[in-house]
């Protein structure tokens, strides 16, 4: 049976609302935290899906932006909570505990770094692009480990979750609502982007850069813009993830995390709007359920991934809709 993609979108969003509401009624705050984790990972993967799914660029260093978002939150909140000054050359600030400002900083810094990484890495393609993005990821990872001022290898703990006007962010359901609202907003923008002239041009570039050039499209510019947008969204997710855990550490920059984001998208469906969301839900569910049974749960994840790659190229969304995913 083939399912309409809009129906899948509606079902997943409704599920993401219903499950935490059920958990709230049943007084199971941990379930709400789990769903929040899935929503944030989904947001990070939606960001990656812009370059991977539409642009066909296998970025193996997207944890850079996730980590930058996390550290942006960690550093700003650390200074605000310890009443110390953050010196940035000519500029000094006391940090902030205000979430929207933290998100903005996380997105702007991630976008800037994505622009710099993109300018260098997008000159390559295929396996070289994968390796360069991985190398940048490792650079940031080792930098974070040696950054003693902000906890080095041990990471940085934040005592209290940051503030959002009108909400008590320490209440799991309220923090979840913020994350879900942001995910829905980004998904809406992503849907618009996919059908926009920019999205179509980027898609055309994925299918053939040479052909795209002959109709006047500049692949480098399109990919760079996509990379910047993608970095900003993943950076936002990083800030939320750090706020969820009230902790930021160099593992947010790790290549394993970059790999997990790719896995989430492959499970859900490459280039599909809800692919990353479904992938993140499956991933977090497996992590929780199988992780409780055995510490080697990744083996089962590997088997699932193998089956999807071999038998369902469009991921779960592709399986349900009967359509293949984007060819990368």
């Amino acid at each position: 049976m083939r399912v309409n993609e809009h129906a899948i979108t509606a079902a997943v969003i409704l599920g993401l609302i219903a499950l935490p509401v059920w958990a709230l009624i049943m007084d199971e705050p941990f379930t709400i935290t789990l769903v929040t984790r899935a929503v944030i990972l989904a947001l990070a993967a939606v960001g990656l899906n812009i370059v991977l799914g539409i642009g066909g660029l296998v970025s193996f260093g997207h944890a850079v932006f996730f980590g930058i978002g996390g550290y942006a939150m960690g550093i700003l909140a650390y200074h605000a909570q310890t009443y110390t000054t953050l010196e940035l050359g000519m500029l000094s600030t006391g940090g902030t505990k205000f979430m929207p400002v933290i998100w903005l900083v996380a997105m702007v810094v991630s976008a800037f770094v994505a622009g710099c990484i993109g300018l260098l890495s997008l000159r390559t393609s295929g396996v070289y692009f994968i390796m360069i993005t991985l190398a940048f990821g490792q650079m940031f990872y080792y930098f974070a480990i040696s950054w003693a001022q902000y906890g080095g290898e041990d990471g940085l703990s934040i005592y209290i979750r940051n503030d959002f006007p009108g909400l008590n962010t320490l209440v799991p359901i309220q923090f979840f609502a913020i994350c879900l609202a942001l995910l829905c907003l980004v998904l809406f923008l992503m849907a618009r982007l996919q059908s926009s002239v920019f999205g179509l041009a980027l898609n055309a570039t994925r299918q053939s850069a040479i052909r795209a050039e002959t109709v006047g499209l500049n692949p480098m510019r399109l990919r760079l813009l996509a990379f910047v947008l993608s970095g900003a969204v993943t950076g936002l997710a990083g800030a939320l993830f750090a706020d969820l855990n009230r902790f930021v550490s160099p593992t947010m920059f790790s290549w394993q995390l970059s790999g997990e984001l790719i896995v989430l998208i492959i499970i859900g469906g490459v280039g599909r709007l809800m692919g990353p969301v479904i992938g993140a839900c499956v991933f977090v569910t497996l992590e929780h359920v199988l992780g409780g049974l055995t510490e080697f749960w990744h083996i089962y994840l590997g088997v699932i991934l193998l089956c999807i790659v071999l038998f369902a190229r469009g991921g779960i969304v592709g399986l349900l809709t009967g359509k293949e995913g984007a060819h990368v």
Binding site: A204, Q207, I210, N218
Partner: protein, 228 residues
């Protein structure tokens, strides 16, 4: 001044030379047939004009040196290419293929659909699911959406059914009469080329060996260099 000026154009694929001195000139609104046997450098000339491969010699569009430009800038300057083998964006729908290439100008979704009504009927269909003829129409429509001043059709009727060929040639004639677009045509049908082209340029082993008005092309010359 010619719209497109090509003089002594040379090009290489790696270490092997493919073009040894191609000369051709095209004015606004003019249709020129680029002829020659297989492997004589017709498609390579097109690739060099579109800056898809490096080349040397004179290559100007409206007096501007194309050698200084990347491929996408040449397209934006007004060179619309309908490549050999159609090469539509298979994962995009007909409309999406056209929108992705769109540049401001007279050619819009509406005018392209008027030229090729089949495209209007298949608007929401993925390019991969179209027939060969429809894909060819889409490739022409996509090139027109860039609102070119020079349209290059590289083997636009190759491998198509006779009825579809007629439709394509009819569209080329309409483009010639109704618009001021210059057209550079590569095709195997001498009959159709002769009826639609104002000028002809013949290539032999990567070099221009004959050029002139189409009505001065003798049977002897075409048999000698083109084989028909």
């Amino acid at each position: 001044m010619s719209l497109l000026q090509v003089q002594n154009l040379c090009a290489h694929y790696g270490s092997s030379q493919a073009l040894f001195g191609v000369d051709l000139a095209l004015s606004e609104g003019e249709v020129t047939a680029l002829m020659g046997r297989n492997g004589m450098g017709k498609s390579t000339t097109v690739k060099a004009i579109c800056r898809m491969i490096p080349s040397t010699g004179t290559l100007t569009l409206n007096g501007q040196d194309l050698h200084a430009w990347p491929s996408h800038k040449v397209a934006r300057a007004g060179v619309g290419l309908v490549p050999e083998g159609r090469r539509c964006f298979a994962d995009l729908t007909v409309t999406e293929n056209l929108i992705a290439a769109a540049r401001p100008g007279d050619w819009t979704l509406k005018t392209v659909s008027a030229l090729f009504p089949r495209l209007g009927e298949r608007a929401g269909q993925r390019a991969a699911s179209l027939s060969g003829g429809e894909q060819q129409m889409l490739a022409i429509g996509r090139a027109l959406m860039t609102n070119p001043r020079l349209l290059i059709l590289d083997e636009a009727t190759e491998g198509l059914a006779p009825l579809i060929r007629q439709e394509i040639w009819a569209a080329v004639r309409r483009l010639k009469t109704d618009t001021g677009v210059a057209i550079l045509l590569i095709d195997k049908s001498l009959k159709e080329l002769s009826s639609v082209s104002d000028h002809a340029v013949i290539l032999e082993r990567g070099k221009t060996v004959w050029s002139g008005p189409m009505d001065t092309l003798t049977r002897e010359t075409s048999e000698r260099f083109v084989g028909v």
